[in-house]
Symmetry: C2
Subunit: 351 residues, 2 copies
DNA sequence: CTGAAAGCGCTTACAG
DNA sequence: CTGAAAGCGCTTACAG
């Protein structure tokens, strides 16, 4: 088709020739208009217009040594990663900062399971990753690239810049609430990594487990045990459904199901509804994240609010500071969390 | 911090000097290994490794004349655009194609309300837009850029490549279903453009309205009229809430609320729930899109399934075909839709 | 198999 | 105010 039959590109050289001015002047006409005479500028702009000139982004960026885009490295394949509302929210937060800074946001899917390849070819000035451990081989690729980067929900150590909440405390908070209502028989659904990268780093999972365990211990409970069973599920709706079915199959049935992500909780609740098990009548369900759906659901999901949007914004702002070179020495932001009490959790039924 | 003190970049010139080979050979070592001797390759790779060489993406892309990324132009600001699950799904569809092609996906937010500026600086090999009219000034910017582009939910005409469903037929289908159940008093919630770009092009809105009207006419109804009131709402949860309140304030109350997007319908349902108006007991609600939430909701939302994911995939595939130069002459894909009947619509109550 | 050289299209010190 | 020229770091015909 016509638009594929690209006539040779119109360059500043063409404009220079046509207008009688130099390439320098042409460039100035666009980028530093005040450095040339009105007459020259007018003439050049007019010739540019008539020739249908459009600056070459590739050449411009190369010359300016910047991409004008920041990268968001997906923890796993698009279908899994972007279907998680929590991740979506984080992306939106990052995106809103990009919008302000007039940068584009480059979403980098892992190419054919090869993260390093994806990282290598990413045309970005900085990168945000999710759930990456300091030891992850992907980190080396980014370091090699020599661009600033920040990890969200990763390991807040190892010299990596990171944005996190206090996962241990947050997990403890919700568990304390559940114990306070009288629950003593739990199903804990932790996160299992799919592919080679979990949605959240294993250190985050570890810290949440610590939080749960600490508070459980104060009530004399141990995990895993007869009273507190441990399950694992991918961070997805279908993962939640499967986990829900597993819990239902086990006996005795817990009075409360605690998940490490809302999307998993939604899946669990779907299974329960289909099985005719009333929530919270027969069993309570607690989540983690506070995705928008948590409040739309009926019953509303009791969960830990970790402001995904804020995490994205904070990471974005830190990253831009680093790109500008006026970044903080040690970037380790901790965002506050909050227990959100809705209807999916009630005191356990008397037996 | 250390990583900001960039020592001068290690380039192929450095490797050439250190290894005793030419820049050509160094380049071959990485990109056409079989064009040089084993010995040379080994030596070069080893020197590269020891120097911590990492190819410069900017230079590489410039030389290769490609960005290795395709752009997704957001119809409006990040918070609005990306919070709409329908748009999210489209993005995911496009993204999944990118992943296969080993391309990144550049999300382009409108810079400070300036679309053209955003388009101009976008470093992409092709572009996908949503809801763009052929006459939109943004289209000219893209044309100037001389890269292939496709619009989803835009105007399937004007020589633009596009991906759509049969909006008129789809709107007619759901209206026919509602009339069939006996509804005769409707609130129709159309889409109003926020900012200067609506979420869906006005031509799409027009075609849906045509579909509604045509079928309404067959039942002797006219829109707008006493029986069929017309409202307008932005494509968002909050927009839906506001519209819901408006509908509730009017009398007589319709037996069925018909929206042009599920996200709006969800907002409407929230308002109804808070007002204690049972759905579908007192009033039925119908949507458009079939976003994932539509099935999670209680009651499930009766709506038109327009496969957002498929739209994204189709647009992505067409775009890559165009980028490769083996694109179709006239790209105008029409995806099939489907009526999805759930619980949010019931026959009207007897009075 | 190897290398000198041109080229991708801009930006920008520098000199006039 | 204006322009010749270097430079950004690669890739790739072309010649040997």
């Amino acid at each position: 088709m016509a638009e594929r039959m690209r006539r040779r590109r119109v360059t500043i050289a063409d404009i220079a020739r046509e207008s009688g001015y130099s390439k320098t002047s042409v460039s100035f006409a666009f980028n530093s208009p005040r450095r040339i005479s009105d007459e020259a500028r007018k003439k050049i702009l007019q010739v540019a217009e008539s020739l249908g000139y459009y600056p070459d982004t590739l050449a411009r960026n190369f010359s300016l040594q910047r991409h004008h885009s920041i990268g968001f490295l997906l923890p796993h394949a698009i279908p899994d990663a972007m279907q998680n509302p929590y991740i979506q929210q984080v992306i939106q937060g990052v995106g809103s900062v990009c919008q302000e800074e007039e940068y584009t946001l480059t979403v980098i899917p892992p190419f054919g399971k090869s993260l390093s390849k994806a990282i290598r070819s990413a045309a970005v000035d900085g990168m945000i990753t999710m759930g990456m451990e300091a030891e992850h081989r992907g980190v080396d690729s980014i370091r090699m690239k020599d661009i600033p980067f920040i990890t969200i929900d990763g390991t807040p150590s190892g010299g990596m810049h990171s944005v996190n909440i206090d996962d241990r405390q947050a997990a403890g908070d919700i568990m304390a609430y559940l114990l306070g209502l009288g629950h003593r028989r739990f199903a804990l659904i932790s996160v299992s990594g799919e592919r080679d990268i979990p949605a959240i780093s294993s250190s985050v999972i570890d810290r949440r487990m610590e939080g749960y365990r600490e508070v459980l211990a104060s009530a004399g409970l141990v995990c895993p045990s007869e009273s507190v069973r441990l399950y694992h599920s991918p961070c997805s709706l279908s993962g939640g459904r499967t986990a829900g079915a597993q819990v239902l199959a086990d006996h005795p049935r817990p009075t409360c199901i605690v998940t490490m992500s809302d999307i998993t909780a939604l899946g669990v609740m779907q299974t329960l509804r289909e099985a005719g098990v009333p929530v919270p009548g027969a069993v309570s369900v607690a989540g983690f994240d506070n995705i928008p759906e948590a409040s739309i659901m009926v019953p509303g999901l009791t969960t830990v609010d970790q402001p995904a949007w804020d995490k994205g914004v904070t990471a974005g702002q830190l990253l831009f500071a680093m790109i500008r070179g006026d970044g903080p020495r040690a970037g380790r932001a901790c965002i506050s969390h909050r227990l959100v009490i809705r209807e999916s959790v009630a005191p356990p039924q008397q037996l």
